[in-house]
C-alpha cells in the first residue's frame, strides 16, 4: 500500500533527508533495488508560486549522508521499499509555503512528497523558532517597557565597570 509522505519543516532547512516508500504497482509490496538503475528514474519538484517545475538529477547516495538528489536504499531485507532521498536545499528554501516532489521509477508507485514550509521550527524545543521569545528580544522589550529600571540597571553596570577598572589599575600599580 502506498504511504503518504507529508512533512512540516522550517523554510530554509538545509541538508534534509526524506524517507520515502516505493511499492510494486501490482502487488503493493515494497519495491527494492530501484537504485540499481537510476537512469530509469525521474525526480522533480514545484514550489507554490513557482512558474516552472524543477528537475532533480538523481545520484546514488549513502544511508545517513545527505547529497542533493542522492537516493539510497535503506535495507532491502529489513525495510524493503524504503529509500532515503536528499532534498535539494533550494526546494525547501524560504519564499514558499509548500513544495511537492515527485519521484518516479518504472513499475513502482511512490506517493508525492508534500512539504509544508513554515516560519517556525518544529525541532526547536526552546521556542519553536519564534523570534519574539528569544532572550535578547525579551530583554529588549523589558527595557523599552521599563525605562527607569533600565536606566538604574545601566547605572549599576557603569559603576561595576568603574570598580573593576579601578581594581585592575591598582593591581597593575602594585
Amino acid at each position: 500500500m502506498p504511504v503518504e509522505h507529508n512533512y512540516t519543516m522550517k523554510a530554509g532547512t538545509k541538508s534534509k533527508l526524506l524517507l520515502i516508500y516505493a511499492t510494486w504497482a501490482e502487488s503493493g509490496s515494497g519495491k527494492t533495488s530501484l537504485t540499481q538503475d537510476l537512469a530509469a528514474g525521474r525526480a522533480a519538484y514545484i514550489r507554490e508560486g513557482d512558474s516552472a517545475a524543477h528537475p532533480v538529477p538523481m545520484v546514488k547516495g549513502r544511508t545517513g549522508e545527505w547529497g542533493a538528489g542522492a537516493i539510497a536504499e535503506v535495507d532491502p531485507d529489513l525495510l524493503p521499499g524504503v529509500y532515503q532521498f536528499g532534498a535539494p536545499d533550494e526546494m525547501v528554501a524560504e519564499g514558499s509555503a509548500r513544495a511537492m516532489l515527485l519521484i518516479r521509477f518504472p513499475d513502482a508507485v511512490i506517493k508525492p512528497v508534500e512539504i509544508n514550509l513554515v516560519a517556525y521550527d518544529p525541532q526547536d524545543s526552546e521556542r519553536i523558532g519564534v523570534w519574539s521569545l528569544a532572550g535578547h528580544k525579551r530583554h529588549e522589550f523589558l527595557r523599552q517597557a521599563l525605562p527607569r529600571l533600565t536606566e538604574m540597571e545601566l547605572k549599576l553596570g557603569e559603576e561595576a565597570e568603574k570598580e573593576l577598572a579601578e581594581k585592575l589599575g591598582a593591581k597593575k600599580d602594585s
Binding site: I46, G49, A119, Y120, S132, L146, R148
Partner: protein, 155 residues
C-alpha cells in the same frame, strides 16, 4: 491532502495531485478547466450548502480564484495548481473541504484547517499575546504599581 492556514489568507494557490483512475498509480495528465464534466466545490464547517467553484484558466505562479493549471506534464505528471477563492479561507469556519472532480482522475479531497495563528510568521506565529501590546498588558497585570510609576515618570 491537508493544509493548515491562517483564517483570512488570500490569493492561496494549492498544489494538487491527480491519479489516473485507469491504473491508480500514474499521474493523470492533460486535465484543464475546459475538461468536460469537471467540477470543483467546497463546504465550510457549519455551512448548510455546498458552494460550487467555477473552474477557469490561469497561469502557473499566479493566483486567480478557481484557476486550474497543469504544472509540467513531463517533469511532474499529474501535478496541478489550483487557485483557492478567498471566501473559502475567510474567518468564520475552522475547516473547509474542497473537492475537484475530473473524469478518469482521482483527486483526494483537500482538507484545510483554518487557524487563528500564522504558521508563516517567524516573529510571533501571529499570536497577539507575543506582540508588544500583549506583553505590555501582561507586564502591567503583573506589576501594576511599578508600571504606573514608570509611566508617570516617563511622562
Amino acid at each position: 491532502m491537508s493544509y493548515t492556514l491562517k483564517k483570512g489568507t488570500t490569493s492561496k494557490m494549492l498544489l494538487i495531485y491527480a491519479l489516473d483512475a485507469s491504473d491508480m498509480r500514474s499521474g493523470k495528465t492533460g486535465l484543464s478547466s475546459q475538461t468536460a464534466e469537471a467540477s470543483a466545490a467546497m463546504i465550510r464547517e457549519g455551512e448548510a450548502q455546498v458552494q460550487s467553484i467555477p473552474l477557469v484558466e490561469g497561469k502557473l505562479g499566479e493566483h486567480r480564484a478557481g484557476s486550474f493549471v497543469e504544472v509540467d506534464r513531463q517533469l511532474l505528471p499529474g501535478v496541478y495548481q489550483f487557485g483557492v477563492p478567498d471566501e473559502a479561507l475567510a474567518a468564520g469556519a475552522e475547516t473547509v473541504t474542497l473537492m475537484l472532480k475530473f473524469p478518469g482522475a482521482v483527486i483526494e479531497p483537500i482538507s484545510i484547517h483554518l487557524v487563528a495563528y500564522d504558521p508563516q510568521d517567524a516573529e510571533r506565529l501571529g499570536m497577539t499575546a507575543l506582540g508588544p501590546e500583549g506583553r505590555l498588558n501582561a507586564l502591567r497585570g503583573a506589576f501594576p504599581r511599578l508600571t504606573a510609576k514608570e509611566l508617570r515618570d516617563v511622562r
